[in-house]
Symmetry: C2
Subunit: 320 residues, 2 copies
């Protein structure tokens, strides 16, 4: 018997009815971009808005995966569903943060309350920073309520993505300095909660003082929230209930102050602007080909017009 390929609409509908295989497939479609991704975006958007997102970022090796696994265990004990979206911009062609995925999957693979998915840029226009909010909305739309967005490293894109969660957790280690040096300021800015993971090692107090000092120096506004510093040991689960309590407190604080609504509106506006820019870049790429473009290039190379005049000439047709 022949088997018809399911449409994005059908897969979405199945995913909404709790079909995990269908959910995995719509996420793959989303990742690949194109028209099916747009269809899914349009379907998800009206149904999204109920999920809460927690961003988790930190240097590779800081123990984020183990910590995430411990958080999953804790939330399952509390009877809560957990979804993890692992973002890995460094593996654009392999399909993402496979390693952490596998490790955690062993613990939670047979548990229907847990859904783990890694994501990388494949064909999605605008890359991970635009694909991630769409994936979150899709997970949200099909009924996932607690979504952890974990980034593999502390690169600019990763910090940006983690910083767009409702609550952002920055994972450090005792003696953290060098591993995050390149983007320390970025991490300081996005953190709602600091975790000193592997807290059974030396240097916890120094690291705590470092963070406190940078927070004082930075004088960053965190919606009148003073980022707490939590010690954890991911391998034993020590400190994980405290970490979850802090996440819940942060959520309650920003929900009651109105800061959550503000944050989300701000994020959506930023996203709209980024999409406009992405669309225009796409258009520029399309424009910068063809006979007219070749001819303008010749004219520039022969010094009869300058490159700015050529660009303006090229753009005249689209009113930009």
């Amino acid at each position: 018997m022949g088997r018809r390929t399911s449409t994005p609409e059908e897969l979405f509908s199945s995913a909404c009815n709790g079909d995990r295989g269908a959910l995995a497939r719509v996420l793959s479609l989303l990742e690949r971009g194109g028209e099916p991704a747009r269809v899914l975006g349009r379907l998800s958007y009206p149904k999204s808005g109920a999920a809460y997102t927690v961003g988790l970022t930190g240097a590779p090796g800081s123990g984020k995966s183990t910590l995430t696994s411990a958080i999953i265990g804790h939330l399952r004990k509390l009877g809560m569903d957990v979804t993890v979206l692992a973002i890995d911009p460094s593996s654009p062609f392999t399909g993402g943060a496979i390693l952490g995925d596998r490790v955690r999957m062993q613990d939670h693979a047979t548990d229907d309350g847990v859904f783990i998915r890694s994501m990388a840029t494949r064909g999605h226009l605008g890359g991970l920073s635009l694909a991630t909010p769409e994936a979150i909305r899709l997970l949200d739309a099909v009924g996932r309520r607690n979504i952890f967005v974990e980034t593999v490293g502390v690169g600019q894109v990763e910090v940006e993505i983690a910083g767009k969660a409702d609550t952002t957790v920055v994972v450090l280690n005792p003696g953290w300095g060098d591993s995050v040096q390149a983007n320390k300021a970025g991490l300081m800015e996005i953190a709602d909660i600091f975790v000193i993971n592997k807290a059974d090692r030396k240097g916890v107090e120094e690291t705590r003082r470092d963070i406190e000092q940078m927070l004082e120096l930075g004088d960053m506004p965190h919606d009148a929230w003073q980022p707490p510093i939590v010690r954890t040991i991911g391998t034993t689960g020590e400190g994980v209930p405290e970490l979850w309590d802090h996440i819940s407190q942060h959520r309650a604080t920003i929900e009651s102050s109105g800061a959550l609504t503000e944050r989300r509106s701000f994020r959506l506006r930023e996203e709209m602007r980024a999409i406009v820019t992405q669309r225009l870049e796409q258009r520029a790429k399309e424009l910068c080909t063809g006979d007219r473009w070749e001819q303008l290039q010749s004219e520039v190379l022969s010094h009869s017009i300058d490159p700015w005049a050529a660009a303006d000439e090229m753009l005249r047709g689209i009113g930009a």
Copy 2:
């Protein structure tokens, strides 16, 4: 007596006649952007193409300024004019790499054959990466023939800018590893010539071996040119004549092979593409304001349309 402000055309004409004050003023106009910058771009372009550019980049503290000063001294002995454009993206508001500027000015301030100028982003659209080629063309158009483009650090923009010269010199020090770690691959890719400056210090041979090993591993095509590694001591001028000989050899090689023409064409095409993108980004910024934009934002926030649909709606008017 009242004094009429000179037009960009008048200043450009004076600069072409050797007026250094006028040259400094047109460069300032260019840096500030807007219509006067466009006028200068249009005036310069047909008159440019005769100058040769040498990019100099390396970590802060590698002794680039002292080395540049020694190169200036050497070229002046050979009876050649020298122009230095110092690029500093890290000081967007102060007017650029003042420190190095001042130091070198003391040596060469009274010499008409030397022109030194620092540049930072002020109002120029597209920032330094688009302003720099325009400044080079302006210097070229007014008759400067040997233009050194020195960047203050090894950030992404700086490496990109230095890499767009006809010959690119990467300045390292013995035991260089840490200072350029963040952008080692970028430096390897752009280098036509490596300089180990401060070669009176320990570790010269190790550094040389490091570079050779990375070049072998990288297997980068350099127009069939094998990047030489030159030792210099900027403070005494040791090695500077050899460095200049290598620069001249590289120039002769790429001139006779046709690689120089190819490089310059490639650069111009890249620049055109970057200008098109910049123009579209500018247009996006203009578009993302106003009543229609506000209304679309409200519709997105109330979940009646999704952000991608809103962006497309916004762009419909300009055919993008």
